[in-house]
């Protein structure tokens, strides 16, 4: 069992009342000691009595095809409540239960039938299950690699889970091949995701005139070129000019021809 831990602490940003701007809270476990070392210092500097920090746990449940859902693992995280009432989930950890013998048989049946392996999470982590469970599923044949590889992306909004992107960490070929897992242990990758902020519309107060010029430039229709306007006159004119030049060339050659004719007459007189 290997679990990539999410060890991000928003305290280091120190923005009171601001929503976290980072969209990807994923980090590797190698940096966790540094984070833990830095946390007390930052917290001491920015701590606020109204901010509450607590731990929450919620259960992952799975189903094999159409079977009922049963517990499959436990997520634990730190829930931070801001002074303005907002909530943020950090430091997500996941521990997955191993497959029992019955579950292994059920999973084999899924693999043979190319059926769906379904999971679900509560839509509210503070008061599970919330309004509805958030369900995701994947074809069972996408999961086996060396072991069973799975990838969770949990989309959060405060303490609410909107959706879970669940599937294989890599590609899943089509058509899907039947392949039994060599090991029955899970390699789980988990990511928490929040919303991106849209980029601001650029406001060019300095270049209002420039903007107007740009709009003005677009407005006039493109000028047709000289050739596009007058080609129907220029082409016949070109033909006429070429013809005149040819005629002039023919006229210039006539005296030479006449002289040549005269030269031919003179040798005949000499023979006589």
């Amino acid at each position: 069992f290997q679990s990539d831990e999410l060890l991000v602490d928003d305290d280091e940003f120190g923005l009171e009342g601001a929503k976290p701007r980072s969209t990807d809270l994923y980090t590797s476990s190698s940096s966790s000691p540094q984070q833990q070392q830095q946390t007390p210092t930052i917290r001491r500097r920015y701590s606020d009595p109204t901010d509450l920090d607590s731990k929450v746990q919620f259960t992952l449940e799975h189903a094999f095809g159409d079977s009922d859902f049963s517990p499959a693992g436990t997520f634990s995280a730190r829930l931070k409540t801001w002074s303005h009432g907002g909530k943020t989930l950090t430091k997500l950890r996941f521990s997955r239960n191993d497959f029992s013998a019955e579950e292994k048989d059920a999973f084999k049946n899924l693999l043979k039938g190319d059926d769906f392996y379904r999971i679900r999470l509560p839509s509210n982590v503070v008061s599970p299950p919330g309004r509805e469970f958030v369900i995701a599923s994947v074809r069972a044949r996408c999961l086996p690699r060396d072991g069973l590889d799975e990838h969770f992306i949990i989309h959060m909004e405060g303490a609410n889970i909107l959706a879970v992107s669940y599937g294989s960490p890599g590609a899943c070929q089509y058509p899907r091949q039947l392949k039994l897992p060599a090991k029955w242990s899970f390699n789980s990758h988990t990511i928490l995701k929040s919303s991106e902020q849209a980029p601001r519309t650029p406001i060019f107060t300095e270049e209002i005139l420039g903007s107007e010029n740009v709009e003005g430039e677009v407005e006039p229709p493109p000028e047709r070129s000289f050739w596009a306007k007058y080609w129907m006159y220029l082409i016949p004119l070109g033909l006429v000019v070429m013809n005149a030049v040819t005629q002039a060339s023919n006229m210039a050659e006539e005296p030479a021809g006449g002289q040549a004719g005269g030269a031919q007459v003179q040798p005949a007189a000499r023979r006589r």
Binding site: G130, S165, E196, P202, I203, F204, E219
Partner: protein, 961 residues
């Protein structure tokens, strides 16, 4: 779009909608107009001779018209918005004279009483009841003379009556539906002169008919007793008459709407009986009609008599009769008119009388049919008709025209030879810039009235098409793209003629059978999905219509409700497309119900996914097929589904306001996009993407109803196979409504920015990074790439997005995008603005790669320098000088030429045009002068011959020397 291009390929049709009220102009000279108000919130003046629109006003979508009248002989008075807005329009030209907002306190029905002026110089006030208040308004300037508050007592005004010439207004109303109260109010000052009330123990229903100026007849709450209420001199008297005394075997009764003088029309057991209201409230049956009949209000004719019109059906004919009210045996007019059965039954009749040339009384009737069309009947003939059903189009699709066959001549003789020569001479003058202004006008007329564009066969360019429009009345129209004429029309029928469903509503329209291999033998057909009733569990009706002839091939009651209709990308051997229909209990039904379709579907069973959006609950669910249904009504074409994924939006912070998918038949020409630095990007062109826009629940109201801190807009791109959120973007301080368009790998959406107090447009482009390794040319040459591997949704999506936002100066009603046959032509956004016009905006303006200072390579590629606002160029309005009033939707369809696309917009009006976003690079322009080309060739050939002859002569002369 330039001046000489306007009107060439486009047409515009103006409609008014289904008529609710009609008032004939009673001026002495001519009486040529009728004022109508419609269910599309249109008030219009129509020409009685030809049915054309003199003037028309389209009010807002929430400004429903409650009543129409004519005051002072020159003002059209309209009451709208449940009695809160009163307007006066000038009768000749429709200019607004005055507008008055009336105070309303609660929801109630509204009454408008415009007095008929016997003396033109005197100003009788208009009385309006609405929202618990009675107002008297001056007809001259719209001033509120007095206002009477009836809100505190739960009083509901039923009638406002005023005897001619009297200054006392009788206001009759019900207190808690059981006590009749009559107020006598001075019409000058609004003071209550007297008040009487009497309790009726049984209670009243809301149906009432005023039979005279001091007598009304109401129906009690059990609908079995007619109560005559008289209030002579203010004393209220009740006279009860059980309906069983009038008619045997009486069920529940219904008072019909026409106002007949001293006469009542009651509908019992599908029969119409006429009841004479005598003195002291005595009721007596004088006539009975067995058919369903439509009737008009009574109209005064000569010698103090009143007449009314009734229309009833007999097969494919309708009978129009005009009778005297007090002597039903005296029939003034009896006419029989042959009626197109595609119009359905008569819904409403409005009658008008005129003086014939022999000085006798003539009558004409304005008739509203079941398909919302409007007809004028006079002298036993249909004088004109208007297809007002086209003002409420609900779904549009396009279809091809028939191919030309040998021996079948569909075109008339187009031109004489002289006209042909004259046209070409004019074109020649135009090309040589020798045309006078009159010649230019003549050339433009020739182009506009090109006869080829109205043929009823397919052309090689794909410019001639049929536009199939399904209206709310359940009628299907086929419009020609040449000039918008109606090629055929068909009214939906209930297949079983059952009691519960006489006429289904039109819901949606789908391509059913488009033959390619049998194009010469079989006609294409479309599937019309109708619904019996308006609630979501109403059973559906399927109708299959031949596209070429407009005939119904077959129709069937399907026996289950219709929540979603999903065309599949599979057809059977007859090229019929398989469709799935989901009902309210979660079952999915396969159509067509044939064994071949079933076997095809079973092969694809594992690969069929669908999703539902429960916008009220904020949940999106994905489903997959599971197995056959079980139950007594189930057959082998019914399937159950199971839930694969859900997306749950938190109800306290996000509310779904918009969802959108790509068009399933859209063509993407190339999946790769070359950047200016010669890098390669692969578009993410999955058809299974869903765009969802959510807003804070507080921000779901009108623009400006929240502060920027309270509202935020979040948009999502969700894969509908796996439920994965591929992209999520939030706009702080923004609000809906969101209008979006989805094409290829980009989505453009329009919303309001509360911080900047401006509308904004954002573009999001999504690219696939999982194929990013396939950029090496050698890999491509040696075939070591994975571009030909099948794509599956279960691979981990590696996408990245680019987005940019711009300000936009206008509010938007709808957005569409051009579509061409092969997807090569660059795209234009077609933005339907709040002014009911369509703006064509190049996709290059909404390109997230725009920067403030583009490099030279970027300029060559066509990237426009970044500005904070999208430009609105006046020449970019596709609708040029027209307005598509009440614009609701824009539909685009490709033609066979790659450069050109069809654009059809519908609302109250219809508009069609053709667009070439990249200019017509694959055809000659229509002003190409073939005559000039021919003359040039002939001149060149002649010049060659002449010079050859001269050359020969010179050469011969040279040899003789």
């Amino acid at each position: 779009l330039y001046e000489d291009q306007a009107g060439l390929t486009d047409w515009h049709q103006r409609y008014i909608g289904k008529v609710k009220h009609a008032v004939f102009h009673t001026q002495k000279t001519g009486r040529k107009r009728v004022i109508v108000s419609t269910e599309e919130n249109v008030v219009a003046s129509l020409d009685l001779r030809h049915g054309e629109i003199f003037w028309r006003h389209v009010l807002g979508t929430k400004d429903a018209i409650d009543g129409v009248g004519i005051a002072l002989g020159k003002y059209v008075i309209t009451l709208s918005s449940e009695g809160s807005t009163l307007r006066a329009w000038n009768l000749p030209d429709g200019q607004m004279v005055w507008e008055t907002s009336l105070h309303t306190a609660q929801h109630s029905k509204s009454l408008l009483s415009v007095p008929i002026n016997l003396k033109v110089d005197k100003d009788y006030p208009i009385t309006v009841f609405g929202g618990g208040y009675l107002h008297a308004v001056s007809a001259i300037d719209g001033e509120v003379l007095w206002k009477k508050d009836f809100t505190a007592e739960g009083f509901e005004v039923q009638r406002v009556l005023q005897a001619p010439g009297s200054s006392i207004i009788y206001v009759l109303g019900f207190l808690h539906s059981s006590e009749a109260v009559v107020y006598q109010i001075d019409s000058k000052s609004g003071e209550v002169v007297a008040q009487k009330s009497t309790v009726f123990p049984g209670g009243f229903s809301g149906e009432i008919s005023s039979v005279s100026s001091d007598k009304v007849v109401v129906l009690d709450s059990t609908r079995s007793i007619l109560v005559t209420i008289g209030f002579i001199d203010g004393d209220i008297s009740f006279q009860k008459t059980p309906i069983s005394d009038l008619v045997e075997d009486s069920g529940t009764a219904e008072i019909l709407s026409p106002l007949l003088s001293n006469m009542l029309a009651v509908k019992v057991n599908k029969r119409t009986i006429f009841v004479n209201v005598g003195d002291k409230g005595k009721l007596e049956v004088v006539d009975s009609l067995s058919d369903e009949t439509a009737m008009s209000d009574s109209l005064p004719v000569a010698d103090d008599q009143e007449a009314f019109a009734s229309v009833h059906h007999e097969g494919s004919r309708i009978h129009l009769m005009v009778k005297l009210v007090n002597d039903l045996n005296n029939v003034l007019l009896r006419e029989t008119i042959q009626m197109d059965q595609n119009r359905g039954r008569v819904h409403k009749v409005f009658m008008n009388n005129y003086i014939r040339t022999d000085r006798s009384n003539g009558f004409r009737a304005l008739i509203v049919m079941e398909d919302h069309s409007l007809l004028l009947l006079q002298q036993g003939a249909i004088v004109w008709s208007r297809e007002e059903g086209l003002a409420s189009v609900t779904d549009v699709t396009t279809a091809e025209l028939p191919l030309e066959k040998d021996g079948v001549s569909v075109a008339k003789v187009e031109h004489t030879l002289f006209e042909w020569l004259k046209g070409h001479v004019l074109k020649l003058k135009g090309s040589l810039l020798l045309a006078s202004p009159e010649d230019v006008v003549a050339i433009q007329d020739l182009r506009v009235k090109s006869s080829g564009k109205n043929k009823l066969t397919r052309d090689h360019n794909g410019f001639r098409k049929l536009i199939l429009a399904l209206t709310r009345a359940g009628k299907l129209f086929a419009l020609h793209t040449g000039d918008g004429r109606i090629v055929w029309s068909m009214l939906l029928n209930s297949p079983s003629q059952s009691q519960s469903c006489e006429r289904p509503n039109g819901v949606s329209l789908y391509q059913w059978q488009v033959p390619h291999h049998h194009a010469m033998d079989e006609n294409p057909s479309v599937l019309v999905v109708g619904k019996c009733g308006s609630d979501s569990s109403a059973p559906g009706v399927l109708s299959f219509v031949d596209v070429y002839t407009g005939k119904e091939i077959s129709s069937s009651d399907i026996g289950h409700s219709v929540v979603q209709v999903m065309p599949l990308p599979i057809t059977d051997s007859k090229e019929q497309r398989l469709h799935l229909i989901a009902d309210t209990v979660g079952h999915v039904h396969l159509y067509p119900k044939t064994s071949e379709a079933l076997s095809i579907f079973q092969r694809e069973f594992q690969n069929v996914y669908w999703y539902t959006v429960e916008a009220d609950d904020g949940i999106i669910r994905g489903h997959v097929m599971k197995g056959s249904c079980s139950g007594e009504t189930a057959d082998e074409y019914c399937f159950t589904t199971r839930e694969l994924w859900t997306v749950v939006f938190p109800s306290e912070s996000e509310k779904i306001i918009s969802t959108l998918t790509r068009k399933p038949n859209e063509v993407v020409h190339t999946q790769a996009k070359v950047n200016t630095d010669q890098d390669l990007l692969y578009k993410y062109v999955s058809r299974n993407l869903l765009f969802v826009a959510t807003v804070s629940p507080k921000g779901a109201g009108e623009i400006g109803s929240v502060t920027p801190e309270e509202s935020s807009l979040v948009v999502y791109l969700i894969d509908t196979i796996t439920g994965r959120i591929l992209h999520r973007l939030s706009h702080q301080g923004c609000q809906g409504p969101v209008h979006a368009v989805f094409s290829e790998n980009w989505v453009v959406y329009h919303y309001f920015n509360l911080r900047a107090h401006k509308y904004e447009v954002t573009v999001v482009e999504i690219y696939d990074q999982s194929r990013a390794e396939n950029k090496n040319v050698w890999k491509l040459i040696l075939g070591k790439h994975n571009l030909t591997a099948p794509i599956t949704s279960y691979s981990r999506p590696e996408v990245f997005t680019k987005s940019q936002s711009y300000f936009f100066a206008q509010s938007v009603k709808t957005i569409a995008v051009t579509s061409t046959a092969k997807g090569i032509t660059s795209k234009q956004l077609l933005i339907g603005t709040i002014g009911d016009q369509i703006l064509a905006l190049d996709k290059r303006f909404v390109d997230p790669r725009r920067t403030l200072n583009p490099s030279q390579a970027e300029k060559e590629e066509g990237i426009i320098p970044l500005t904070d606002t999208l430009p609105i160029i006046p020449q970019a309005y596709v609708t040029h000088s027209h307005k598509v009033e009440g614009l609701r939707g824009i539909v685009t369809a490709p033609s066979k030429l790659e450069s050109t696309t069809h654009v059809f917009a519908y609302g109250v009006d219809l508009f069609y045009t053709r667009l070439a976003p990249s200019k017509t690079y694959d055809s000659l322009t229509d002003d190409f002068s073939y005559a000039l080309l021919l003359i040039t060739i002939v001149a060149l050939v002649a010049a060659i011959y002449i010079t050859w002859v001269l050359s020969e002569k010179k050469e011969l002369s040279e040899k003789w020397r």
